[in-house]
């Protein structure tokens, strides 16, 4: 027997901490257009490489290249840019509203706008998303009224959730957006269950589950993959890898060694990895996975490689754990600028039109904000009633809740 020495405990550390120079030299970025596009009914065993590459469409010059390009019309691309810009403006205004004390809390999507905005356009009416708190692009791109989103954020008298939920925990069955829970990963297996139900019912609708890189460590991620694979559920399992789970870099959830996409392979689930800052690539991959589900070919796992450019939430200060300029150094760039450059390259857009669109969108968001604030904000104006606090725990209020409502004087 050889003497192997004392055991040593291993804790992964990010490459760089505050004060250091951002370094993504270890992130391998394949050339745009270099990853093949298989048929949706491909034998999953033959496309294992796709879990270790990154599907990209837009190159450095803003051209759309390769087999995943060419799925969107000019109008759809222009609409996509508008959705992403709207989400970014919405975020900025709500972030400010939180700082002004109009609400208690907010979470931005900065840098991740392409993921939810482009995915939403690959779905059909009736499909159901099981989102996390960082996919509001599904609502923006799905035509959900911005004022209603703000009413929820302000917990005002027009809040569709009656002031019961923390800001941004939206719910809209009508818009295919499942009620958001604060408990991470729970929705991932629920998405699979919804998809199973659709298959049991002989329906045509499919589900999409959403999870972040950090939450893949939760047990329900595993549960979802087992169930999705066992029952060949018509579900797209999305992992948004934005490199950070609050202060914890993706290596703590064991990213970096293998990929999150590759987690699907052990369950026999085909897995794709895509440039999350490339609107065209996200849409093309989403469409592929959605079609697989729709054609009863089973689940697909998709990892969106992106970067959380903003703070985790309004309660977070990223400068305490990562370099300030790290988002600028992120090699996949900014999704809005990349699509903008593509549209300019195509002759469909210009810097002037972009500036004009920014101003228009800001006006629209401010108008919505004024309308929402007329219904009240968290600490001023009209509020949901105290009676609403006791309603909806059950369909019918049981006697003990009626007694407590009386005690509360309402």
């Amino acid at each position: 027997m050889t003497d192997a020495g004392m055991l040593r405990f291993h804790v992964p550390e990010p490459e760089v901490r505050p004060g250091g120079a951002p370094d993504f030299s270890n992130v391998t970025i394949p050339k745009a257009g270099s990853v093949p596009r298989p048929e949706v009914d491909v034998d999953p065993r033959t496309i294992r490489d796709l879990a270790f590459s990154i599907i990209r469409v837009l190159n450095r010059s803003g051209e759309a290249v390769g087999p995943w390009a060419g799925l969107l019309s000019d109008d759809e691309l222009l609409e996509g840019l508008r959705h992403m810009m709207t989400l970014r403006t919405f975020d900025a205004r709500m972030q400010m509203a939180q700082r002004q004390g109009k609400t208690s809390f907010y979470m931005q999507h900065l840098g991740e706008e392409a993921v939810s905005c482009a995915f939403r356009k690959a779905l059909a009416p009736g499909d159901m998303n099981f989102p996390t708190y960082r996919q509001a692009g599904l609502l923006i791109a799905g035509g959900y009224p911005m004022v209603t989103m703000m009413n929820q954020i302000y917990s005002n008298e027009a809040d569709p959730l009656k002031g019961r939920q923390l800001p941004i925990m939206y719910s809209s069955k009508e818009h295919g957006f499942f009620s958001i829970s604060g408990n991470l990963a729970t929705q991932y297996i629920q998405a699979v269950g919804w998809a199973m139900a659709s298959a049991i019912s002989g329906d045509k609708r499919i589900a999409a589950g959403w999870i972040g890189d950090g939450s893949t460590a939760e047990s329900d991620f595993h549960a979802a993959l087992v169930f999705a694979s066992t029952y060949k559920a018509p579900v797209v399992l999305n992992v948004v890898n934005n490199q950070w789970a609050i202060s914890t870099f993706q290596g703590i959830a064991r990213g970096g060694s293998g990929t999150f996409a590759a987690r699907g392979l052990g369950f026999g689930i085909p897995a794709l990895r895509v440039d999350g800052n490339d609107y065209l690539a996200v849409h093309a991959v989403a469409k592929w996975a959605v079609e697989r589900a729709r054609r009863n070919l089973g689940p697909t796992l998709v990892e969106y490689v992106t970067y959380r450019a903003g703070a985790h939430s309004t309660s977070d200060d990223p400068s305490a754990y990562r370099p300030k300029a790290e988002s600028d150094a992120w090699p996949l760039g900014d999704p809005v600028i990349r699509l903008k450059n593509h549209l300019i390259h195509r002759g469909l857009w210009s810097d002037e039109r972009h500036a004009q669109a920014e101003a228009e969108i800001l006006d629209t968001v401010i108008a919505a904000q004024k309308e929402a604030e007329n219904h009240g904000t968290l600490h001023s104006g009209n509020k949901p009633s105290i009676r609403d606090m006791f309603e909806g725990v059950y369909e019918e209020m049981p006697p003990h809740l009626r007694r407590q409502r009386q005690q509360a004087g309402v």
């Binding site: 159901m128 099981f130 569709p160 959730l161 009656k162 019961r164 939920q165 925990m169 719910s171 809209s172 069955k173 499942f178 009620s179 829970s181 604060g182 408990n183 729970t186 991932y188 297996i189 629920q190 998405a191 699979v192 269950g193 919804w194 998809a195 199973m196 139900a197 659709s198 049991i200 019912s201 589900a207 047990s219 329900d220 595993h222 549960a223 979802a224 087992v226 169930f227 066992t230 909806g392 725990v393 059950y394 369909e395 049981p398 006697p399 003990h400």
Partner: protein, 337 residues
């Protein structure tokens, strides 16, 4: 009227519900082809097909989480957790999701699911086949918690639970699956075929949730019990010659407080009996409610007989299980107080 075991009654409830409503689906570990480790789902897959009754991977969070997603879609899943002792991996889904879905979405999404689980001891089940975790569910707003004590109720309550628009935790005392049990483990077990509550009507009927049943009318003392303890309490009262009013709560949440209060105001004495551990058990809630609502009618302190505050042991089964001797001593003490 036909007599059935509790197992047959529970199976019958699922059969009737699946036959009436195509949205009812049944799944869990070993629930499909094999028909369940306690035979509660035997024949359902053959009758309704594997889309309606199927085996699940061994993952309680997965079973409950998938059921929640199905309910959000519009199905009515009735799922099984093989033993209540194994519900904990699914606890996050039950507490954080199933119980709160209606509330947090303001009714946009609802969760009409039933989670069946065999519960209770008295079978030499040791630590992980004997627990009674009902208090972990009665503390959760948004859940309903049901514990039947006989085949007639088991069928009617389970059909009610499946038809209920909200999530129901359905705890089945496995000690009662084949016959009533009063704690006299030295005597042979009487089968349900010899008991009047083994009479189970064919077809559809319901026993409403939220209503207790008075199993024995009495004037001297009120016993609040559920599950196996209903029979233990009855034996203890009989053996000590106490004219006890024995209330089988049947539903713990929402609780039938009116029946409890009316009884205690009549008798002036109350003993709460459950298998689950004492501290912060459901008995604490019952004792507190009786004290709040019946204080001026009470002739004696409200007493609790429960499992000891230890994990459920194996060899010491009958020193742990609150049997008729221990319950009897509490009844006598309450009468003498």
């Amino acid at each position: 009227m036909p007599r059935k075991t509790m197992i047959e009654a529970i199976r019958d409830a699922m059969d009737v519900s699946m036959g009436r409503d195509e949205h009812v689906v049944v799944f869990g570990e070993d629930v499909g082809f094999f028909g369940g480790v306690f035979r509660c789902t035997q024949g359902l897959q053959a009758k309704y097909g594997s889309s309606r009754c199927f085996d699940a991977p061994i993952n309680e969070s997965g079973i409950v989480g998938a059921a929640i997603g199905m309910a959000a879609y519009g199905l009515r899943p009735c799922v099984e957790v093989q033993f209540a002792d194994y519900v904990y991996p699914g606890y996050d889904q039950i507490v954080s999701e199933a119980a709160r879905l209606r509330y947090r979405s303001n009714g946009d999404f609802t969760c009409p699911i039933v989670i069946r689980m065999p519960t209770g001891g008295g079978i030499f089940g040791g630590q992980t086949h004997s627990q009674s975790p009902e208090a972990l569910f009665t503390h959760v707003s948004g859940l309903k918690v049901v514990v039947p004590s006989n085949p007639h109720d088991a069928k009617g309550l389970l059909i009610s639970a499946i038809e209920d628009p909200d999530p129901v935790i359905f705890l089945e005392p496995k000690r009662l699956y084949n016959g009533p049990f009063d704690g006299h483990h030295e005597r042979p077990v009487t089968p349900w075929s010899k008991h009047e509550l083994g009479e189970v009507a064919d077809g559809h009927y319901t026993v409403p949730l939220g209503r207790a049943a008075i199993r024995r009318a009495g004037a001297a003392l009120t016993v609040l019990a559920y599950g196996t303890m209903v029979y233990v309490a009855a034996a203890a009262a009989e053996e000590n010659g106490i004219d006890a009013e024995i209330i089988d709560l049947r539903t713990l949440l929402p609780l039938d407080l009116d029946t409890i209060v009316a009884s205690v105001k009549k008798t002036g004495r109350c003993v709460v009996v459950h298998e689950a551990t004492l501290t912060s058990g459901f008995g604490a809630e019952l004792a507190s409610l009786v004290q709040e609502n019946c204080f001026y009618h009470l002739e004696a302190p409200v007493a609790r007989v429960a499992g000891w505050d230890t994990p459920y042991p194996h060899a010491q089964e009958w020193d742990y299980f609150p049997g008729p001797a221990r319950v009897g001593r509490a009844l006598v003490a309450a009468m003498e107080a």
